[in-house]
């Protein structure tokens, strides 16, 4: 980038610096006011309240089929409630905002035809992708964090501040549980990187935003289905979906890193390749939208 400083006078318009194009703040502003961003934020922010109302109407949760889940202790404390919200949403609900923010970001610009004007501004292609990726990941992270934070606040207000009751028995002090919850949320984000990368790559390949979002969600579902095929045995270890609930390892008396590390490894590995594919493809692509 520093070579740009050496460009002979007159090559660029006054004040133009490639590294200053499409600043993150500008890209965030461009995306923030979109209706889907606001709707997604509202859904995630409202879900804890929906659950609180559901528990209030339906009474205390009880285990089904003898399977012990975080549902059983949902109303024990605010921390429990936050963990439960994470539990019910990590499988699918949190996939949607990630796929949406990352899958929509380039494809929607293409569908609006605004992409070519950004590129002709000119925003260098790699720079455009970095800005868009950073903002999309930032929005995804915000979506993933929003839910448990709202749930923690609302849950604490309704069920009180107390230790995390672990459904299999035992408990974690609230002071210990909140950092663990933060770790769980961080893992959820890392495990969603593969969805983010897939959506982002598709976003650079198509001009149809829904195609990119739907493709990413669809492939995530295919991953879940494959993970249900136990005949695949250890091959399932390499499915990102296999580790989607590994964050629950953070919410047990002995913090267990193995699953989360494996899940992160799988997710990050796929994500790196897919991100690289996105950058490679976009750098060479003819923009005809």
């Amino acid at each position: 980038m520093s070579t740009l400083m050496d460009t002979p006078a007159g090559e660029t318009a006054p004040g133009y610096r490639a590294r200053h194009t499409l600043p993150l703040r500008v890209e965030a502003l461009r995306q923030l006011k979109r209706r889907r961003t606001l709707v997604m934020g509202a859904v995630l922010g409202a879900l804890p309240f929906v659950l609180i109302v559901a528990f209030a109407i339906g009474g205390s949760p009880s285990s089904r089929n003898g399977r012990i889940t975080l549902m059983d202790t949902a109303t024990a404390s605010g921390v429990n409630f936050a963990a439960t919200c994470l539990f019910v949403s990590a499988g699918f609900l949190l996939v949607v905002p990630v796929a949406l923010f990352c899958g929509d970001t380039v494809a929607s610009e293409a569908s609006w035809s605004s992409l070519r004007y950004l590129l002709a501004a000119p925003v260098p292609r790699a720079r455009l992708l970095w800005s868009k990726l950073a903002v999309a990941l930032g929005f995804s992270a915000a979506a993933i964090v929003l839910l448990p934070v709202v749930a923690l606040a609302a849950g604490t207000a309704v069920y009180g501040w107390g230790p995390l009751q672990i459904p299999t028995g035992g408990s974690l002090g609230a002071g210990q549980a909140v950092p663990r919850l933060a770790l769980a949320v961080a893992f959820v984000f890392v495990s969603q990187l593969v969805t983010a990368a897939l959506a982002f790559w598709l976003s650079t390949r198509t001009d149809a935003p829904l195609g990119a979002v739907g493709g990413a969600v669809g492939l995530t579902i295919v991953g879940n289905v494959l993970d249900a095929v136990t005949a695949l045995g250890h091959w399932r270890d390499f499915l990102p979906a296999h580790w989607q609930f590994a964050w629950a390892d953070a919410l047990q008396p002995h913090l267990e890193w193995g699953g989360m590390l494996k899940g992160s490894a799988v997710s990050v590995a796929y994500a790196l390749v897919l991100f690289a594919l996105a950058f490679r493809g976009f750098a060479r692509k003819d923009i005809v939208s």
């Binding site: 004040g15 490639a18 002090g173 790196l272």
Partner: protein, 869 residues
């Protein structure tokens, strides 16, 4: 009954393979050598023993033999998998069903030295006759014995009674059956009952054993004869004779054969001078993960070392304990990790004293011993005991039936490995007191209470009427006590698993000083997480692949041409073929130049390649060939020089959810240039959107978007302005206004390129013209030169000219093309003069009203296109 010595070769002669019983079969796994199995029933004194013999590979190779015993209640079939694996690993493997189990006949003698143990010696005799088996001497094969539980005990007993055994690997088994069923004189009733019923009832046993069982179970208390009987059948009876390398694997969640049994055998065999390794596996008879894959692999390694004499075989650490890290929430399994040390530490290594507090407490032994406290519950749900290591426990003490002594919360975590001990004073209203000691791990909230491995230690205190001080040896476990947790000693009067006195009594228990001695093994280091290589490798591979994908050959960007620094646009030899249309060129060998101050019209019908050219000019698509230079700089995607170009190509592109003004402001912000340079108000004035600027763009009409897009292209007043079909959707006054805007724009020394297929509009605003058709340049030059060129003539006629005549004109020598229009005939001359044309027309009987230079651009354009057709 006097038996012959085991060494006597009763074997070969006495063993009669029953006719027709030999069955050959082969089991092959893909890629691995096929395993041959020979099933045979061997006739032995008092029983017919059902055996299987497994080999793999060449029958001529001499190999060590391995005998695999099965568990109590099982048969030889349960060891088939391990037998086949060992056969593939190069052993001759024999499995058999012990007396009274499977298809074997005879009575169960609880590994009687005269029966079951003799059977093993006869099997070894039989092995010595086999051609596949390697011999250490005549009648002495190289042989190891392994097995789980009942089969583990036979391996110890075989090594004790038969000197030909060279190595053993007993798993989850007993050293002294009397200690197992009558620990400290307390009858382990639940397990004993399960044991007998598993065998199929008392009648399946030797009558002596059955009688003993009935006697003890009725009394609820062992007698000396019973203890003697069980002890005589135990490996401990020949402990001093077991001198072969022993791999001892014992379960941690095992209330039947607890770790103390393994401790006793390890110490005795090690004292005999044989190599010993102790491996505490996670599961046990109470359930949990028996780590079958790992233990069988370790047994193979052990035999590789001591039977095959493979010095490179890794026999593993002298002491290994499996520790549970937590639950793997992905599949619900417990995470197991090994901790190991180079020496076996025993059960009382490096004790830490934890002070206990609690006054003297009295509690009742309920009459009939009911209800009993609950600790281990054999047979109830596999893995229940394993849960204790996860901070979960199912254990129960009834109020008034136990004494409890607590420690203060531990300042630092402690890892208990072995048997804690504590001195207590016991007083009973009866003669004997039977007590059950256990140590709970109590969480900081006081509610979470875990009994490690669900184990209790029974103790019978004889003559406790006057009070007696005893040292209580608590169950051997491996358990982490976190900092902040307490240890809690509970001494209870009852336990579900054991028979306690039926007579009611009151026990009084107090601490006898000293606190709880908690053994630790600091040398046992937990192996690192044991993560698969791919946990680190996979992201690395991902990064490498990603990096490789991003490495691109640096495309050479030509140096700027200083001579062209003042030339807004020069295109040379530009060619582009879209991937999907292999034969058709979108743009082909296009060359033209635009100078400063020009308003250039780029003209051509739809599909002429105008837009493709402009897209290449903006760096959106790559030309296949040729070069575009803007102010001397070659264009590449994102070339910085594009910041001097404003463009409106193929329609508007806005964010529909933002207002017109926001769109323009954010677009300018995206260019990264100073806000003061945008001259946004001037641009907006040209757009003339008024109040609509504050509305979201999605509410705009086509024309409004068009005008906003042109305003966007003009932001910052670029040196080169490109407008593609700018008048689409505009009404006539706006079109006129746009024309003026373009002319004014160029007057300031800036340059405008306008593309259009509606030629009449640009006719008046453009100074220069580039005409394209089907990707090729047709003509370029000043408008006047193209439109007013003398070589294009408009021939007006009285009446419309017939098509045939037009064709005739077109083929005349010196005529480029001829085209019929509403007004007459448009003719392009190529060499012929006007006079010659008139002469020819008159000759063709065309009634002329006039011939003159044509000034209308549209007609000129059509002529040009026609000429190239």
């Amino acid at each position: 009954m006097r038996r012959r010595r085991w060494r006597v070769a009763a074997g070969a002669g006495a063993l009669v393979a029953l006719a027709g019983a030999g069955v050959w079969s082969a089991a092959g796994a893909s890629g691995a050598p096929a395993v041959h199995r020979e099933d045979r029933v061997l006739d032995m004194p008092g029983a017919k023993i059902d055996t299987s013999f497994f080999t793999a590979g060449s029958p001529h190779d001499k190999r060590p033999a391995v005998l695999i015993g099965h568990g109590f209640g099982g048969s030889k079939t349960e060891t088939k998998g391990q037998a086949e694996q060992l056969a593939r690993d190069g052993y001759a493997v024999m499995t058999w069903s012990a007396r009274g189990f499977g298809s074997s006949t005879g009575q169960i003698g609880l590994n009687d030295p005269a029966a079951e143990v003799k059977d093993v010696s006869r099997l070894i005799d039989w092995l010595a006759e086999r051609p596949e088996v390697r011999l250490d001497g005549a009648g002495d094969p190289r042989v190891g014995v392994t097995g789980v539980s009942y089969g583990g005990a036979i391996s110890l007993l075989a090594a004790g009674y038969d000197k030909r055994v060279d190595a053993i690997a007993p798993e989850m088994t007993y050293w002294n059956l009397s200690d197992v069923f009558f620990p400290d004189g307390v009858y382990k009733k639940l397990w004993a009952g399960i044991f007998v019923s598993t065998a199929g009832g008392c009648q399946k046993f030797e009558p002596q054993i059955c009688a003993m069982y009935n006697r003890v179970a009725t009394a609820g208390q062992p007698d000396e004869a019973a203890e003697k009987l069980l002890e005589s059948k135990s490996p401990s009876a020949v402990g001093d004779r077991i001198k072969v390398p022993a791999l001892i694997m014992q379960g941690q969640t095992d209330s039947l054969f607890p770790l103390g049994q393994a401790d006793a055998m390890a110490r005795r065999i090690a004292a005999n001078g044989a190599p010993v390794a102790v491996d505490w596996i996670a599961g046990g008879h109470d359930g949990g993960d028996r780590e079958t894959g790992r233990t069988q692999a370790r047994v193979t390694q052990w035999f590789d070392r001591y039977l095959k004499d493979d010095k490179s075989a890794d026999t593993g650490p002298a002491f290994r304990v499996t520790r549970t890290g937590g639950v793997n929430s992905t599949d619900g399994s417990a995470q197991l990790r090994g901790a190991s040390s180079g020496t076996y530490p025993g059960l009382e290594s490096d004790p830490h004293t934890v002070a206990l507090t609690g006054r003297e407490q009295s509690f009742a032994n309920p009459p009939g011993g009911a209800p009993p406290a609950i600790s281990a519950v054999p047979g109830l749900g596999a893995g229940l005991s394993g849960l204790s290591s996860l901070g979960v426990g199912l254990s129960l003490d009834f109020p008034g039936q136990y004494a409890r002594f607590d420690s203060a919360p531990l300042a630092a975590g402690l890892h208990l490995t072995g048997s804690p001990t504590v001195r207590i004073k016991v007083k009973s209203t009866g003669d004997d007191a039977v007590l059950f000691g256990k140590v709970y791990d109590v969480g900081p909230d006081g509610k979470q209470q875990v009994l490690p491995s669900q184990l209790v230690a029974p103790v019978r205190v004889a003559g406790a009427k006057d009070g007696k001080a005893v040292e209580l040896t608590l169950p051997a476990v491996d358990h982490t006590i976190e900092a902040g947790h307490r240890l809690c000693l509970v001494v209870a009067a009852t336990d579900l698993g054991f028979a306690s006195p039926a007579a009611p009594a009151t026990y009084t228990v107090s601490l006898d000083g000293g606190g709880l001695a908690v053994p630790t093994v600091p040398a046992a280091k937990t192996a690192s997480a044991g993560l698969a290589w791919w946990v680190w490798g996979l992201p690395l591979i991902g990064a490498l692949i990603g990096g490789a994908l991003l490495v691109t050959r640096r495309t050479h960007t030509p140096d700027p041409d200083p001579e062209l620094a003042q030339v807004p646009l020069q295109i040379a030899g530009l060619t582009k073929k879209y991937a999907k249309s292999s034969d058709r060129y979108a743009v082909r060998e296009l060359s033209f130049r635009v100078d400063k101050g020009q308003v250039l019209g780029l003209l051509g019908p739809n599909g002429a390649g105008k837009t493709t050219t402009l897209r290449m000019l903006m760096g959106l698509i790559r030309p296949d060939d040729g070069e575009i230079r803007v102010f001397g700089h070659a264009i590449r995607p994102g070339s910085p020089v594009l910041s001097r170009v404003g463009a409106f190509v193929e329609g508007a592109g806005f964010l529909p959810h933002l207002s017109g003004r926001e769109n323009l402001e954010l677009y300018w912000a995206a260019t990264g240039r100073p806000a003061g340079d945008s001259r946004i108000e001037e641009a907006l004035e040209i757009a003339g959107l008024g109040d609509a600027l504050q509305r979201a763009v999605r509410t705009y009409s086509q024309g409004m978007r068009q005008r906003l897009a042109i305003a966007q292209a003009m932001l910052g007043m670029p040196d080169l302005l490109i407008l593609d079909e700018p008048t689409n959707g505009l009404d006539p006054p706006q079109i006129r206004e746009m024309r003026d805007v373009m002319i004014r724009y160029a007057e300031g020394g800036r340059t405008v390129i306008v593309s259009s297929h509606l030629l009449s509009e640009v006719e008046q605003s453009c100074t220069h013209l580039v005409v394209m058709d089907r990707g090729r340049l047709v003509q370029a030059g000043p408008v006047a030169e193209i439109t007013g060129g003398s070589d294009i003539l408009l021939v007006t006629t009285v009446e419309p000219v017939a098509e045939a005549v037009v064709d005739k004109v077109a083929v005349l020598p010196g005529i480029g093309s001829a085209l019929r229009t509403e007004e007459g005939l448009l003719v392009r001359l190529e060499g012929a003069t006007t006079t010659e044309l008139i002469a020819e027309l008159l000759r063709l009987d065309v009634q002329l009203t006039g011939v003159g230079p044509h000034r209308r651009l549209e007609d000129a354009f059509l002529t040009l296109i026609g000429g190239s057709a």
